[in-house]
Symmetry: C2
Subunit: 189 residues, 2 copies
């Protein structure tokens, strides 16, 4: 998606340690009209997959998933993060290790909102090592639902998440794959 | 907004302690097409206020604000919650006491995304005692921006937040005001 690459180049900020910040349109300030276009792009890619629900993780995935849902005309379910152990038995629960925050947290989805008849599109803003995605897949597997596609806005191609998902047979579409982040700039795959 | 009241009556769940859960369309599962209508309703109400940005707090406000932003054609800025003290000096910071979680947390917005020229519409899903809103207003006041309106999806009319905001001169529009939550059901103001 050319416009996304242009946005990353013009508005993204790089930090040491392969960090790419896109706070001005995706992670703190949101460019809703652009997220609407991103949602449409995911729809064009996955529209024949008979999607019944879109699943994401709070926070940054929510607006993107909500926009995509306008095209698919299906509900969004967002997994909630929690550091505490929720004893409610009516939830599916997964664990995620966050490298940026250096701690493990739980993600959870109420059993009401996922079931084995669902065909899911999983959407998230970033894919790096894929830890959040693995936690979410764990939750979805517990529900018996089928993952028909995974839509990512920005994949860090030099980290292992994308390779893991493709090798495990997931239909992964990343709208931009960043291959290198150096002092000179960003290159795409 | 009649459709919202119908959704609350048909899909809302009440719990002891005046708790109203609308997880099936607003707080865990999202009905995007309905949120789009809610965004349009806020636009119809505040469209002459020369809004330059929409501000909300993660998580549940984000999708609603993003939908409203499609009509206003302005960016959304969402305040981030954090329990830790972020030492970055480039943020505005406020404190919120959460009664449901029984703890205080910080909310923060980068100084980049709010400034004194901004005319803001503040959007959130619920207004009860108004603690989150007061934290957000504190942040906005630090930036020098003007609050032109506050749009709330569900106000608990029997709690003090709405009264506080109206008495302090804010242009508050709550799409549904719940006056009573009893075993027999919900009544609106």
């Amino acid at each position: 998606m050319d416009k996304l690459k242009q946005m990353i180049l013009s508005k993204g900020e790089t930090r040491e340690g392969n960090i790419l910040k896109v706070d001005s349109f995706l992670n703190h300030q949101l460019d809703s009209e652009f997220l609407y276009e991103i949602g449409k792009e995911f729809y064009n890619y996955f529209k024949n997959e008979n999607i019944t629900k879109i699943v994401t993780i709070e926070v940054s995935g929510v607006a993107i998933a909500a926009m995509a849902a306008l095209f698919f005309k299906v509900p969004v379910v967002f997994a909630k993060k929690s550091e505490s152990l929720n004893l409610d038995k009516n939830i599916y629960k997964g664990k995620v290790y966050s490298y940026t925050k250096r701690k493990e947290y739980n993600v959870m989805v109420s059993k009401r909102y996922l079931n084995k008849e669902d065909n899911l599109l999983v959407i998230d803003d970033f894919l790096a090592q894929g830890n959040a995605m693995k936690g979410l897949i764990d939750i979805i597997d517990q529900s018996g639902a089928t993952i028909k596609g995974i839509g990512i806005v920005i994949e860090k191609g030099f980290q292992s998440g994308g390779t893991y998902l493709r090798e495990n047979g997931y239909n992964l579409k990343s709208l931009a794959i960043v291959e290198q982040i150096t002092k000179k700039g960003i290159t795409f795959g």
